[in-house]
């Protein structure tokens, strides 16, 4: 475990150095991360106001709280691997990684965590400012705050492993943007990114229970908002653990098959 820890530390240094080289693009990414939930926040606040101050069980202030917490949860859990993998396969960059005696996912996880560590304080600051600006208040019970941390970590891991697995479609297809696009649309609706799931039509809610997306965004958000009972939280944790196991198994199968294809047709 120690060598792996050293790898993570070293990757952190590398990522840090790279991020300081790409300050402008870092800023643009951060703005994007902030803008999307901000747009939904404003849209839903306007809609809620015009329909008497609330929609379903969400008041205007609740919407604000929902999207501000969502912004943070999304920041912690998002990955960019699906944009990158195709390029790695097509340009043969993956070959360099395959020559190394370590599974390439470690560098990616370490890189992801590193850049999150750097950007998270900025996001928290923005979240605090927004909370004042939109009169959002969050008052979860203490146990929910405690459980939120492992829930957030699990959400990160599941999303990472899942998207890393999907990214490997690039082994079989030369252009994966169609797959990426479908995934992002499904994610947007079924994770609760576009609206709290409880205000969406019933069939969508049922579907969201069966798919992994909800457990990666909506579940941690509602937990921190204090909207979940202990039983609901336990169910959510169970779903996260289940999806973690499923996604790790999938990753191993797909990776093995993908590398075989890659090494068969020309690395």
């Amino acid at each position: 475990m120690k060598p792996l820890a050293q790898l993570y530390v070293q990757q952190f240094k590398t990522t840090l150095a790279m991020m300081f080289q790409y300050r402008a693009s870092l800023l643009i990414w951060t703005i994007g991360q902030v803008l999307e939930p901000l747009v939904y926040l404003i849209v839903w606040s306007v809609v809620a106001n015009s329909s008497g101050g609330s929609i379903g069980d969400y008041t205007t202030a609740d919407f604000a709280a929902y999207f501000i917490v969502l912004m943070l949860v999304n920041q912690v859990t998002y990955t960019w691997i699906m944009y990158e993998f195709e390029h790695r396969v097509r340009e043969g960059i993956l070959s360099v990684a395959l020559l190394k005696p370590v599974h390439p996912i470690h560098s990616d996880i370490a890189d992801n965590i590193s850049s999150k560590i750097i950007t998270l304080p900025i996001m928290i600051a923005i979240a605090i400012i927004f909370s004042f600006a939109f009169h959002a208040s969050v008052a979860p019970p203490p146990w929910a705050i405690l459980v939120f941390i492992p829930v957030l970590l699990l959400a990160f891991l599941v999303r990472f492993v899942l998207e890393w697995t999907l990214a490997q479609a690039a082994f079989w297809m030369t252009r994966v943007s169609a797959i990426n696009q479908s995934y992002f649309v499904a994610f947007l609706f079924l994770s609760g990114q576009i609206a709290p799931l409880t205000i969406l039509p019933h069939p969508v809610q049922i579907l969201s229970l069966l798919l992994p997306f909800r457990w990666l965004i909506n579940f941690p958000v509602e937990l921190l908002l204090g909207r979940l009972t202990m039983i609901e939280t336990l169910i959510g944790l169970g779903a996260q653990c289940g999806w973690l196991i499923v996604s790790i198994i999938l990753l191993r199968i797909v990776w093995r098959a993908g590398v075989k294809v890659y090494t068969a047709v020309g690395a």
Binding site: K13, T14, P101
Partner: protein
């Protein structure tokens, strides 16, 4: 296990889609794709002893890179037996990967925007190199490759040659016992080529590493490798000493003479390849070299005379040309 590298009947065939140009063909390819088999490597065998430096020669597309990729585990062979340091490369076991390296002249492992030194440290963690041996290796490589302050500059600010030196150093930090070099000097100027060559020889000497290198530049091979493998269309045409290659494939020698008057008809003596200001280049069958030289000296006002083997490039070109026929 006496050999560092053992290869028997190694083959790699690719199936590629073929598409005619034109709109009609494009639509047809939606439904039906014509496939063709490409035999990149076609049943080659060789063994390499530990500590040997072997040159791998062949024109573009001969199968050199494909072979190197199979040897380093990046490509699965279609058939044949392959063993490097007792491992089957395609299994890509960590313990195997820690003992080899593959430097590709046109593919980089250094991160473009940060100093090479940081990539070195990342490699230290990836290969689990103990701190002391990492430090001494960096010192040694810095001295041998004259890296100096290069490691502190962002890679994008380095020249091609400087970057290649850093690439090579990054690939050798873990002291691999087997080194595969694919066109390590491509695009570099003569001085830098020489520098890299000297370094490879020195690395081989110091660490007893086995080196297999491909190069377009014959000078690389001539300077470094006693033994060469010549590959063409995926088949091994020659395996032996460089001098043997000349022996086997040259039926002619080149005689260069300088005459004191500038006109003479030398067609009787051999095939005139060039003539300029009384300086003639003749191509004569190897067996007749001595006789022709004697005649030239006796019959013509010769100021200077030189007998040479044709340049290796020419020999190789001729070997490949013969194969085409």
């Amino acid at each position: 296990m006496a050999y560092a590298i053992h290869v028997r009947d190694l083959s790699k065939f690719y199936v590629v889609n073929q598409q005619e140009t034109g709109t009609k063909a494009a639509f047809q390819s939606l439904v039906h794709r014509r496939k063709a088999e490409v035999r990149a490597v076609d049943g080659i065998s060789f063994d390499i002893e530990p500590g040997e430096i072997v040159g791998f020669l062949g024109p573009n597309g001969a199968g050199k890179t494909t072979t190197l990729k199979m040897l380093s585990g990046l490509l699965h062979p279609t058939s044949g037996e392959l063993n490097v340091l007792g491992y089957v490369p395609s299994k890509r076991e960590a313990v195997f990967l820690r003992q080899i390296t593959l430097v590709m002249g046109q593919r980089n492992q250094l991160v473009w925007d940060i100093p090479a030194g940081l990539t070195f440290e990342l490699n230290q963690a990836i290969y689990r190199i103990p701190r002391d041996s990492y430090r001494s290796m960096v010192t040694e490589l810095t001295e041998l490759l004259d890296l100096g302050s290069l490691l502190k500059r962002p890679v994008r600010n380095l020249s091609l040659g400087e970057r290649m030196k850093c690439e090579i150093a990054a690939a050798l930090l873990h002291r691999p016992g087997v080194v595969f070099l694919d066109e390590p000097t491509i695009g570099l100027d003569v001085t830098m080529q020489q520098r890299i060559r000297t370094f490879i020889a020195e690395y081989n000497r110091r660490f007893g590493a086995t080196v297999l290198l491909t190069s377009h530049y014959m000078a690389d091979v001539a300077a470094l490798c006693k033994r060469v493998l010549v590959i063409h269309h995926g088949k091994l045409l020659f395996d032996g000493e460089l001098s043997g290659l000349l022996q086997q494939f040259t039926s002619h020698k080149t005689i260069i003479i300088q005459l004191d008057n500038s006109t003479a008809n030398l067609n009787d003596y051999g095939e005139v390849e060039s003539c300029e200001d009384g300086r003639y280049t003749l191509r004569v069958p190897k067996a007749e070299t001595a006789r022709v030289t004697e005649r030239l000296l006796a019959e013509l006002p010769v100021i200077d005379l030189l007998v040479e083997d044709p340049p290796i490039e020419e020999v190789i070109a001729r070997v490949f040309a013969q194969e085409e026929k």
